[in-house]
Symmetry: D2
Subunit: 238 residues, 4 copies
């Protein structure tokens, strides 16, 4: 089925239907679990199918609470959570040259490239499709027109909760007693790496809690912003 | 001017206009400062008039951060912040009989009565009018029809931000660099006494952070819910 | 029995023996519980005698963790914990004039006088003897020669753990599973009012965590330093 | 000079003298900086010699406060802090099989082996000597007879503060305004990886804050306990 047709077919559906379609139609598929509230996806997926591939990116700079949360989710759903870790040499090279907080000076792209994008590329290299927890309302500057399904390089990417609001996701979490990161009890909404995440004030948009020293459009970790291009480039080169 | 006429006159006005009207037309008037984000009122008032009466209720159970915040506001605006403290005998009697957390068992009314309502009555006894930071959206169960001005016993009560949303209040705070309680950096939205206040989760209504063991309508500290009656009763008795 | 004789008799005894002597020989006696680790005294006392008078001073500025701890001790030992609260008028007068943190400028004596010494005098007014958790090693500047029993105005004061070190007290707490303040898990050793208490660094003396802007000898809340004189003066005046 | 002779020569000396001797007599020498209070060594070394090799092991599980501290030290002393990071494949293999907290079940050796010992071996491979912050009083079970200098495989290991107590180290830190980890303000004394470190209670030995689910002798991260053997074995095999 063509992507545009698929988009039409799924765009009005509930997240569960979208996940079900994805899991039923792709064998080499996995859910990327970024360690925050998108465990709602895991909750939905494991109710549909016992055996789901789930992976997460351990950047080496997550909060202690996030590591604890990842393990809690692994136990709670009895899943095989596959973890990808950054390349030692690349991390050492960057850190030895620039220190541990260079992103505050020259932007988060380099660090995200080493700690997130490269491990993600390894994670995706054996897949045909993946499922993410992206929402349109999570970044008005860059995700305003995010579809529930899209091409991402040679892969199909499903965003089952693209249409859901933050509020709706959290209703689901509470109703279904889905585990969540302890940081959400302390004002954190969107949770990423520790140095690039902060709690937000009342009334602030969740994106204010990420890469706050940068402007709206750049506030993407690189996974979703540049991956399509970087991957297709990679493929072309080969 | 009759209250209904006044309501019509002020209901569409911006908070600053309402405060200005109040301060200009009532001599025995004060702003009640509950120690959270309604310092926006103080910011507006002190820009209108140098010498404003402001009082706060120190219940003896506020967070250390709240005491620090009260003092910071006092210094920042160079105001004479009048504090009311609960009666020693009444506190001792309740606590000796029931312990320090009896409200979790038999409701917050008794404790609020001793630590908030009685001190408030002392604060109001010499006033003709007071200004509060109540908003309609802060408690859908009990404040949905809150007017910007109303009778409260023998007093006139102004609620200048009744029409403002939480989001709008916080825009004002950020734009005007208004000081705020450090607790707001840790997931607290509505802040009262320490044992009766908690941070909320993403997507939760601010009222979920107060008296969470009780149901919606009772979630008022007694100041705004029962005062009108209790005061008018008091007056009638005399 | 004369005080000097009593001192000789008890000075080499274990705390339990001293408490036992005190409880058996004085009817109007109470343990003052300052809300930190001296709950060891309560543990010893309740093992000796079912019905012990215990009082605490709620200054209105304790940590939320301390209030929670006081209630936990009350439940754990099923004791009637008598609480004394400061006089509203005295607190209001000080705070309205000087703000909530005047002690950082002009010393803690005035605030301790209102929030601790006056309530303590009420607590002691009906007693002949009291039991405290003072230790010699807790303040080398002022407690170096603290005896296990002494005259304090017209009262007899017992200090059963005067000879014990901090380390010994905490061994007792762990061995006997005595409840302790949660703040002790976060670097706090000596715990008093929130604004006048801080965690200490490794290797620091516990007294560094109290009234750190003042010098050693003054680092007493006034209860133990000046009470003897103030009480005897009071009595003489009558 | 023979090791025994060197030991006699240095055992009574102050740390500064020992460091000075080490830096002057070994070219391929570095200070291992474990990210806690042993920055005292760096303070001493940089006062002796401008250009000192310092390395640290970033296990990927340090506290956010520790990363912040490492960078603060790097800036403060303007040093070239060389960081070693664990091998991605080894971390992934362990974590995918056993989860992120397997050390609580089957001991810390495997995880320390991957995250600390292997990176350390890389760090030491080009050195003839290294300087550590080990103290005798930091682990009575395993370090009671720690000398100020010893053989460690083919290397010479200097322990300049072996004779110093925790208290003495912290006196040095305060007197010399040496930067320290913010965690030390919250009850942490000995600081390692986040999941294997906890604050201690008053009166507890610092070692109670590390690997608390294991017994005394095993409470070594493997760096100092087994390295000598593992290294000499490695060498022999080649």
């Amino acid at each position: 089925m063509e992507i545009e047709e698929l988009k039409r077919k799924l765009s009005g559906e509930e997240p569960q239907k979208i996940i079900e379609y994805a899991l039923n139609n792709y064998k080499k598929i996995a859910i990327s679990f970024s360690g925050a509230e998108d465990v709602a996806l895991i909750d939905m997926a494991t109710k549909i199918k016992g055996d789901v591939n789930i992976f997460t990116l351990d950047t080496g700079r997550l909060h202690p609470e996030t590591y604890e949360f990842l393990d809690r989710v692994r136990d709670h759903y009895n899943i095989n959570l596959k973890t990808y870790f950054p390349d030692a040499h690349a991390v050492e090279q960057m850190v030895n040259k620039k220190g541990l907080f260079s992103f505050y000076q020259d932007g988060h792209e380099e660090c995200c490239g080493i700690r997130k994008v490269e491990p993600l590329e390894r994670a995706l290299s054996s897949l045909d499709a993946w499922v993410t927890g992206q929402r349109r309302d999570s970044n008005p500057a860059s995700r305003a027109s995010l579809p529930v399904v899209q091409k991402s390089g040679r892969l199909i990417k499903f965003n089952p909760v693209a249409n859901w609001s933050l509020k709706r996701v959290w209703e689901y979490i509470r109703e279904n007693r889905v585990p969540y990161n302890e940081l959400h009890k302390r004002g954190f909404v969107s949770v990423g790496c520790a140095p690039c995440t902060r709690p937000i004030l009342p009334g602030q948009h969740e994106r204010e809690g990420r890469w706050w020293w940068e402007t709206g459009e750049r506030k993407e970790c690189g996974i979703h912003l540049t991956l399509a291009d970087s991957l297709s480039t990679t493929r072309k080169r080969k």
